[in-house]
Symmetry: C2
Subunit: 470 residues, 2 copies
């Protein structure tokens, strides 16, 4: 990617100033809603409402045209009726704006007329060297900049800042329709490709590979515009950080639905499967995994191998987790004699993996102290690459892991927690507290180990790429 | 099952009177906790605390021995230290009690000594014609009777009454460690087999097949005691209601973990797979599916075929759901010309399946009214067997479905809802409200269609069994 292209991509996620085109009418004007969301999220740059009718909006001075703004503008956000979009793009081009998000619906997704209008947008933007995201998009979200461009009210839904970046070709996998704050995902950026008329995966992959605040790249794609260039861009990104892709249309029915949704040909799934393998991309197969796996890659180090230990307060969970681990290419760690004798000193029934600490807990005055004894012993074993801990969620376990977190972080092997309990709000609060300690916590059994399996896969892919390169 | 055996099984779930053996010490005595849970849940029978030291417990008169109770007793709940259990079982036998739950841990799961003690329990019980559940169990829960026997505090976790019955060989899949009330499962009964020294799946299958308040039987099994009798019992149950079984130990690592957990040989998985197929049991593969699929079978009628329609407010979800439907043996319904023309009158872009109502919603004054128009049209189509609806959760959609529920129920085809939104507590509240209308609502994409796929599978199995019989 040329430095120039890279810098216009930056304008989408790190703008110092934005112009907003859209209805400024109270209460629900789309332009007004965009601005309100940004003000709520604490946008760090300047906002210029553009309106022929309003003198101000949300307390900010409005300008009749973007040409009336004296300062330079990095990003335009357009959410006006379809026929007005083309002249606005033209106006933005003349102002020297290099990035525009067209949120407006009613282009290629509606038929041939919309497609023609969409092509005119692209041609106009190209004349001015401007990049376009959309149309038919919620746009972007960037936690570090307090930037959010959704024309729907986002309410309290500002995620915490972290390393995960999500890009999606459907609004259904973006910030507008998922409780990202309540679930506690730690997000760097999000991007809805919309109709993908210009900015697409070929732009985002190199930009995100370079982006220091993104540690894991997650993309939902219904199609790929240019297979060869995609493989090249993905491969380069994979050399630097994990790239997880959810590509539906795996089945004939799914492919037909995709073609009617985006108008693009989904293509033979085997072709995608091969391309992903060549590029070192990890393919994600379900909605839940797309949302829940990345947090482990973002919060924890990568496992150096695929040998998993399981510590569980209930033997039954250990059995199910063992199945899931095997299905995701993890093998049960065989503990060293040192570990076995250390565990044996704690209780004659300990020593096997999974480590069932349940019986020990029931005879201790402070049952949760079992984890204090067992977790460091097991994590220090050279035969162990990663660990899943099954715990009853609540204040006692949060206290235990508050003590253990620095040690876990020092040892440098990834840990996930599978939590259970009977009080859902309390469980969700514990999840947030444990993740604030850097410990990814799952309420879904299989995902707790699959996340480690994906980490181990990425370690293998990295090693292979380094071998190929060296 | 003989009427006598059947009636002692009833004593476990429908007792009119229970004796509780366990510490009555304030605040956390196990016997006291069992009684408190039952009083909280509104147990409809009489409770007799048995204690040599206390004169009363939780406001109830205590008795030094169960022999001192004049009235007959249906069920004993024992949660005393291991060495005291055998004399208590003997004492219960002499009193004529026909059912005892031994919650106490420390039997076969601890080694040969425990196994010997466990065998003695069984021999003693048999002498008196008494059935034993456990040991090492949370016991049972029965919503209709307000019965719960967990020796841990169950707090507010009383589920609502409904048709799902869960049996499990691990505490991890029972009422003690899952927020069954907060998630809103509608439960008939739950049973933790514990060490399965006596009462097991061979007892529960015929009992639950006969039980009028159970509409779907869900079992977690780590082993099956008697393959041939299991197949026969399961087949007879399947002829009357769906039987879903989660059997871990599918992989070598899982089988090894199971054997170290329950001491039993998990056996070759292919043998189980064949047995389940022969019996018409539907095998469940993940923790989430075990919890979340049954509610559709319990709340909705069975689909008569496997043709699914998808109505979605977002095209991207339609694509992913189409993949999931195909993977779970559902095929996309091809709408009749009547349906297509009715949909076409609503919007020229409607008519394909999945039905993407998103664009129509964005131009309506009351966007959610789209569902009022579309759902009845599609459900009435003779080419449609079942429907998944993708909706933004919140008060508007609850209002829409409050109106639609009687019509959906009249048409008699199963409907599931896949819900999304940005405010998790609000979403969970909508789930509870929609399920109170009888509409199973999922926050997990694939499960929303897989639940219909399982229903369609059961319809095929039933048809096959009826053919075989007739």
């Amino acid at each position: 990617m040329t430095p120039e292209k890279q810098s216009s991509l930056k304008m989408f996620f790190e703008p110092r100033s934005v112009a907003v085109f859209g209805s400024m009418r109270e209460p629900g004007g789309e332009g007004l809603t965009v601005m309100r969301n940004m003000l709520n999220f604490g946008f760090s740059g300047r906002i210029y409402p553009i309106s022929r009718s309003a003198a101000q909006a949300s307390g900010l001075k409005a300008y009749p045209t973007v040409g009336d703004v004296a300062d330079p503008i990095d990003l335009a956000i357009v959410v006006t009726p379809p026929p007005t979009v083309l002249p606005i793009v033209e106006e933005c081009g003349r102002k020297g704006i290099k990035a525009a998000i067209v949120a407006t619906e009613g282009f290629a997704e509606t038929g041939p007329d919309g497609a023609r209008l969409q092509r005119q947008l692209v041609e106009t933007a190209r004349r001015y060297g401007m990049r376009l995201l959309g149309p038919n998009t919620l746009g972007v979200l960037s936690t570090d900049y307090g930037l959010v461009t959704a024309p729907y009210s986002m309410g309290h839904n500002k995620p915490q800042s972290g390393g995960i970046t999500y890009c999606s070709q459907t609004g259904f996998l973006t910030f507008g329709v998922h409780p990202i704050k309540d679930i506690g995902y730690a997000i760097s950026k999000m991007c809805d490709f919309g109709n993908k008329c210009d900015v697409n995966e070929l732009d985002l992959l190199p930009y995100l590979a370079d982006d220091p605040s993104t540690t894991v790249i997650c993309m939902h794609l219904e199609d790929v515009k240019d297979g060869q260039r995609f493989i090249e861009a993905a491969r380069q990104a994979v050399a630097r950080k994990p790239v997880l892709i959810l590509k539906p249309g795996r089945t004939e029915a799914g492919a037909r639905a995709a073609s009617s949704h985006t108008g693009s040909l989904a293509g033979d799934d085997q072709v995608y499967e091969n391309a992903f393998r060549q590029a070192g991309v990890i393919r994600i197969r379900t909605w839940r995994e797309f949302w829940d796996i990345p947090k482990t890659l973002s919060l924890q180090p990568l496992p150096k191998g695929n040998r998993i230990a399981i510590v569980t307060a209930t033997g039954g969970a250990g059995v199910m987790l063992s199945d899931a681990a095997a299905e995701f290419k993890l093998v049960p760690a065989t503990f060293s004699t040192t570990t076995r004798s250390q565990l044996g000193r704690l209780s004659p029934r300990l020593g096997n993996n999974p480590v069932d600490v349940g019986p020990m807990m029931s005879v201790r005055e402070f049952p949760f102290s079992v984890y204090d004894d067992v977790v460091p012993t097991i994590l220090s074993d050279p035969n162990v690459d990663c660990l899943t801990c099954v715990c009853h969620l609540g204040p006692p376990i949060v206290k235990v892991f508050t003590g253990l977190a620095p040690l876990i972080s020092n040892i440098g092997k990834p840990v996930t927690i599978l939590g259970y309990g009977i009080d859902l709000p309390e469980m969700q609060e514990s999840v947030r507290q444990l993740e604030a300690l850097g410990l990814p916590t799952y309420l879904d059994l299989e995902t707790a180990v699959k996340a480690l399996g994906v980490g181990a896969s990425y370690s293998r892919i990295r090693a292979r790429l380094e071998e190929d390169a060296g």
